[in-house]
Amino acid sequence: MNMNSKTQLEEKPAKRLSVRALVIIDVLATCFSLGVFALFFFDLLGINPQPEPIPVQQLAASVAEVTPAPTAALPESPSPSPIPTAPEESASDFPTELSSVQTAEPSSEPEPEPTPADDWKFASLTTDEPVFTDSGYSSRDICIKISSYDTGEGVIDSPYTVADIYVRDIRCLQSYFAGGKYIPTGHGEEILTLMEESGAIVAANGDYYSMQMGSGVLRNGVLYRYPKADFDVFVLYDDGSVTIYPKRSIRTEQDWAKAFENAWQVWSFGPSLLDENGKQYEDLRASLFPVVANRNPRTGIGYYEPGHYCLVVVDGRDGDSAPGASIEEFASVFESLGCKQAYNLDGGGTSRMAFDGEIITEPSQDRVLPDIVLVAEYEGSGAWKEAQNAEEVS
């Protein structure tokens, strides 16, 4: 009898869940797994303390400690060299006042001598007092000219807006984070709010750093993180010159530290649009998905020479009246403007430009921004406040 019971028990098939139940359980478990991934990836629990931002001057000091003979040039390696940009003779004409910003004991540093207006190459474009007009702004340190090209007026089919920017002091070309601080997990505000907080005269969206965890972030002379993913990286130095490092040209943080020495701004999005001769790259589309390379609203920054830059925003996603610009068309805009370097920032629904408290382009959708590129009088601006806070902390 006992033997029979045992045999019956062994023969009884194990209770099995139906296939449908198994699939549902697996799918739910996958969702849970993705949730766990998101928790840690975006650090939603705040487990990983954010590294302290490093002022670039301190970064340069740490590079000097690591490397006995520091140099701004990149180490020789089989990797491609960065695109040469600023001619040295013009860079030397550009006054550099950044060194007074991040020093540990600012009071002991001599005040920077005000540069006589006549010494600056673009002094004829400035005015003694700040003056706003419908098409621009000028002051002692800044000249901004806004040009809008309607459908059929410019070199592409879509309307676009160009802010031609001249700054005597590179500190006037700034970046500003939503919330007034670096928030890697994402925080956005309307562009007009960001402009008001930062004292911006003209502003456009930046590289949307919070949606690109692998991007390098160095803003207003303070390093927040090194690039980790493959970007062309735009570096604006404190002498006003620009270098765009092609993707994969630098791998290690130590080499990035050298590349970022004396950097004032770093943006990571891309691609770089113009070659060393100021002509658009032929294979721009190669590294992009067609949906990205095709016509879209676009934002980009162009570089002519130290002290002279431009911001360009192309409207798009509005039928035939504003189809947007493909990546090649966007590069052709900068080529037509005569830029030496040009760099694509975040586009699509993010693209927008505002001047004097008004949005002057036609954004394709409502969207808050985590960061903006802006021009402001340095005194009282967002970067100035950051520098003041850093001084108080130190």
């Binding site: 198994l22 359980i25 697996d26 799918v27 478990a29 996958t30 797994s33 993705l34 991934f37 840690f40 990836f41 949606m211 690109q212 965890m213 692998g214 991007s215 980790k228 993913a229 493959d230 970007f231 990571s268 999005f269 998905f289």
Partner: protein
């Protein structure tokens, strides 16, 4: 018990990594596959796949 759970762990981890791969295709700048968390998931997938395979081979040989 382990023999029954391991294949499902494999399925769940594979689907998770597959989702990350697709996300990475659309936005490589986010670094979905290069972060420490992603590497942990990939490592776990490798281990579970290995364990499942070994169990399968072992069971097969005992039959």
């Amino acid at each position: 018990m382990l023999r029954r759970i391991l294949p499902h762990i494999c399925i769940v981890l594979s689907l998770t990594v597959l989702v990350l791969l697709i996300l990475n295709l659309y936005n490589p700048f986010m670094g979905f596959l290069s972060s420490a968390v992603s590497i942990c998931f990939l490592f776990a997938l490798c281990l579970s796949a290995l364990a499942t395979a070994i169990l399968l081979v072992w069971t097969d040989r005992r039959k």
